[in-house]
């Protein structure tokens, strides 16, 4: 009996080894372990054995069956694994082929620059104000200390809609509107981004339409030193942490003192290069302390209040930061340009 069983197990194991698909394996399983299998026959023959031998042989048969079953199970797993490997091999793709092209989309570089400036000042506690592009002469000029026939009006050749309205030439009228609107005459701390217009022919450095961001702080002790500190933060955030600033005297009718603000050249780090015309400094914007005439016109008592204003030229900042050499590119919308930022 023992021999017979061992022989049968060897026979089964050999047969299992040679099998290559699941179907044959199942047939084999029923051949050796099914109802009509020889093992079943042995089991039925157990009853003819002595009581002493019965458990021994029974155990022997079960061990043999388990052994075969284990082999079948192993084989099954091996076949299944081979099958998956085959599938994987078949499904493998050339990952170097190009992906599906999805339209990319970008915000315009001018929008990105404005949002960058906005975020710097939001971080410093400023709120954002807007104003109309069709502006009254009163707000655009007169209340900003630029009466009719002021020679400085020549600095800004304007596009007029009527005697009293024009396309605003700067975002500074938002200063006036914000101060006037503030009935309780509380401190003001705002920035005002927007589109402005000048009567200029478009060329490499001029655009009849462009964007500015105005900054205005009016409070009881807002000082020139505060202006310098604010400018330094803005310069570092926009042009890099190592930047320094330099103020030079200038003139704007709505600020006094007025300054031009230079940032240390980020290309040569102040040594002098073509970018900064060998000066080590690049002119980036204008600023100053709010002129008393403006405060007064807007109902703020200049004995009590003082403040500063800054005017960013958005195009200039974007062009400096990204090395853009022609302002018209910002309005052409060549997608080969717009997609770069």
């Amino acid at each position: 009996m023992q021999e017979k069983i061992n022989q049968l197990v060897d026979e089964a194991v050999n047969e299992i080894e040679s099998i290559e698909n699941l179907n044959d394996l199942m047939l084999l399983k029923s051949k050796y372990l099914g109802k009509k299998s020889e093992f079943n026959q042995f089991m039925r023959e157990l009853k003819n054995l002595s009581n002493e031998e019965k458990p021994k042989v029974g155990q022997m048969i079960n061990l043999a069956k388990n052994k075969i079953n284990n082999h079948i199970q192993e084989k099954k797993e091996a076949i299944e694994k081979a099958k998956i490997n085959e599938q994987l091999a078949q499904e493998t793709v050339d990952i170097s082929l190009p992906g599906k092209k999805i339209s990319l989309g970008k915000k315009h570089i001018l929008t990105q620059t404005i949002e960058e400036i906005e975020d710097i000042f939001i971080g410093l506690g400023y709120q954002i104000k807007e104003g109309p592009e069709q502006e009254e002469d009163k707000y655009n000029f007169e209340m900003l200390n630029l009466p009719k026939n002021h020679p400085a009006r020549d600095m800004q050749d304007s596009l007029y809609i009527s005697e009293d309205t024009l396309l605003r030439t700067h975002t500074s009228p938002v200063q006036v509107r914000t101060l006037l609107e503030n009935e309780k005459k509380e401190p003001v701390k705002i920035i005002a981004p927007g589109t402005v217009y000048r009567k200029d022919d478009d060329d490499q450095t001029h655009s009849h339409q462009f964007k500015q961001v105005e900054v205005l702080v009016v409070d009881k002790e807002t000082s020139l030193a505060d202006l310098k500190g604010t400018l330094l933060i803005a310069a570092k955030k926009l042009f890099g942490e190592e930047r320094e600033i330099r103020l030079r005297p200038s003139y704007f009718p709505f600020t006094e003192p007025s300054v031009e603000v230079d940032v240390s050249c980020y290309q040569c780090h102040g040594k002098g290069c073509s970018m900064c015309k060998n000066t080590g400094w690049i002119e980036v914007l204008g600023a100053g302390m709010v002129n008393n005439n403006v405060l007064e016109a807007c109902g703020y008592d200049p004995h009590e209040f003082q403040g500063f204003a800054i005017g960013f030229g958005v195009e200039r900042i974007a062009m400096l930061k990204h090395g853009i050499d022609d302002i018209r590119q910002l309005y052409t919308n060549d997608l080969r340009f717009n997609s770069q930022f």
């Binding site: 709120q127 339409q209 002790e221 807002t222």
Partner: protein, 790 residues
Amino acid sequence: MKISMNWLNDYLTKKIDAQEVEKKFNLMSQEVEGRYSLVDAKGLVIGHVNSCVQHDNADKLKVCQVDVGNEILQIICGAPNVDANQKVIVALPGAVLPGNFKIKKAKIRGVVSNGMICSLDELGVQDFEKKETGIYVLNDSAPIGKDPLQYMGLDDEVIDLDLTANRPDLLSMRGIAYDVKAMFDIDISFDKPKVKRVKEKRELSIFTETEDAPVYYGQIIENVKIKESPYWLKSRLLAAGIRPISNIVDITNYVMLEYSQPLHAFDFNKVNSNKILVRKAKENEKITTLDEVERELLSTDIVITNGVKPIALAGVMGGAETEVSDSTNTILLESAVFDPVSIRKTSKRLALKSEASSRYEKGINHELTKEALDRACELFVELADASIVDEPSFYNQLEVNYQDFELSLDKLNKVTGHTFEIDEVKAILKRLDFDYKEKNAIFNITVPARRLGFESYQDIIEEIVRIYGYDKIGMSLPKTPTEGKLSKKQQFKRNIRNFFSHIGFYETSTYSLTNQFLATKYDVTETSLVKIMNPINTDREYLRHSVIPALTEVLSYNHARKMENIFLYELGKRYTQEAETELISGLMKGDFLYSLWQKQAVEVDFYLLKGIIEKLFIDLKISDFDFVVPENPIPNLHPGISANVLIKGKHIGWIGKLHPEEEKELNVKNVFVFEFELEKIYSAYNENVKQYEPINKYPSVSRDIAVVVDKLIPAKDLYETVKNISNQSLIAIDIFDVYQGEHLDSQLKSIAMSFKFENKEKTLSNDEVDLMVKRILNALEEKHNAKLRQ
């Protein structure tokens, strides 16, 4: 303003270097546009042509023996005017002329030449002589062997200042000297003009009828000899950028540069009168100005008249009739003050801008009217052998009010955020030549007449800080405690931009000004148009009503450059006389997603556009939106492939395909566009915190049906019918097939719909679902004659 360093140094007690001047001006005063040598040449000497003979081998060349002081040089010269006994400018071997032109010893047709005899043109000097015919011949007193540039006053350096409107004082060399004094903290000195006047009486009465000409001096100068000006005068005018003409004109220009006081010389014999009346022009009065143009005048112009008719346009340009000429013997020299605004208006209207008018416009120093006149007289005696007869006639209606400002040390420190010491402030005011009184740290400061346009103590603060140095002011931040944030609307606009950029659209930046046709091209209703009174050109004459024409232009531009897939958006405005309405506009063309090698593409069509807009609204938590067939066609859109878009029943804008004619014009096919009013989307934008809805734990059941209906019935109608008769169990309807064609009547279409049912309390039984589907079918049949497709 161009500063001659030689001239400036005349006023200074200590010589200063041009490079230092440039640096100080940049940091403490006005921006320097350039610094350069008046003549960019080295290695020049004055030579004497001892002999000049014909070159043996060249007709047009002469061989000269030139005494240059320490030796005699043989120099070949090709100038037609070279001759023996001339004093000439010699460029020695090793000299460098403008344009980095190096002079070397050379052999010309077999004869050695040790340098070059120069023309002024070769030295880069124009306009020094009326007509240059060859080499420049110096006057007889030129010292042989010395530097000719120094001898002629051309050894100068020039600093070109870019002046701001508040510093008219820097339009004069004396004003420049004052500023240099303050910046460098050095002393300056000016000579008072000394005039010898012939004590003889001359009849000349000067009076005025206008307040716009407050001061007028007229001086008769006789026996004027018109000739060329001396070298030094010509050189200084050249350095200032003014062309020398003759001694009379040059003297008036020189004094103007010195004092910023414009002067005008009339040929007194041509004035034909002993009376000078300054008045406003009469309407339609005429004058022919120096440039031979007849000008029609307005009553706002100031004119100088001989009592009868205008002889000069005050402060702007002289009259042709009284112009000085080579035969002029007696002149009437004018030194006057005119109203800046009046001069500015006249000069602007007639497009006549001169050195004089720009000085009058910005304002001149009223204290120097007489002194400038005297200075000119002094020069007329010296350079034109003239006799100054009698004292000048004049009137002066001006009351000079000195400007006084009070500034406390406290205020200065509060405004600057810096701690100034009282002595520092005193020292700076002294350097500036501002008179002051100080008591208890409160300064009372008198601004000198040469500094115009001060409005308040703020101007004084500016003066103190610029001389002190902006770099020495510390840094701090405003202490105003405020919250920094975007408003809800601003955040909304950023969200819109983020949405379109992330989904694949490029934001454009286009011009608001356009022509009339494009401004109104997409108008649905008639609205007012904004026209520019003084447009740059007719293509920038009107403010636009729609951004779409700009987007189609961007499309054309990019399409012409072989770009196929173009997705654009812009946040622009519609401008009317009444309002500025913010718009969100977009354009789509080409494949939204594609893979060439897989031969797959999602090309834009109406439903892609509609899907994107639906996603936008859902992202903004707007649910009650609708697309409806426009009652009237939308201009330039395909009438069958366009829709009005509503939110809560209100029209907010439109979407659609461009009209085939429009596409033909653009030479691009399948272009889709949309334009919405931002504010109307914003007002529906729901920012409320959304409350969570529990997820149903019972499974949903789906059923598909297909019905055949008249092909003109919109799918939406079927939707509405289904929704209306169904209860809450119906949670989704979707259309998964639309079919027309074979096996169907040509008037019919088949629409396949999928329904999803669920109940929050239980699992729906098949019977329940079947019943609901049956009710749906009945309703569709009843309402739309829809038959279940078998």
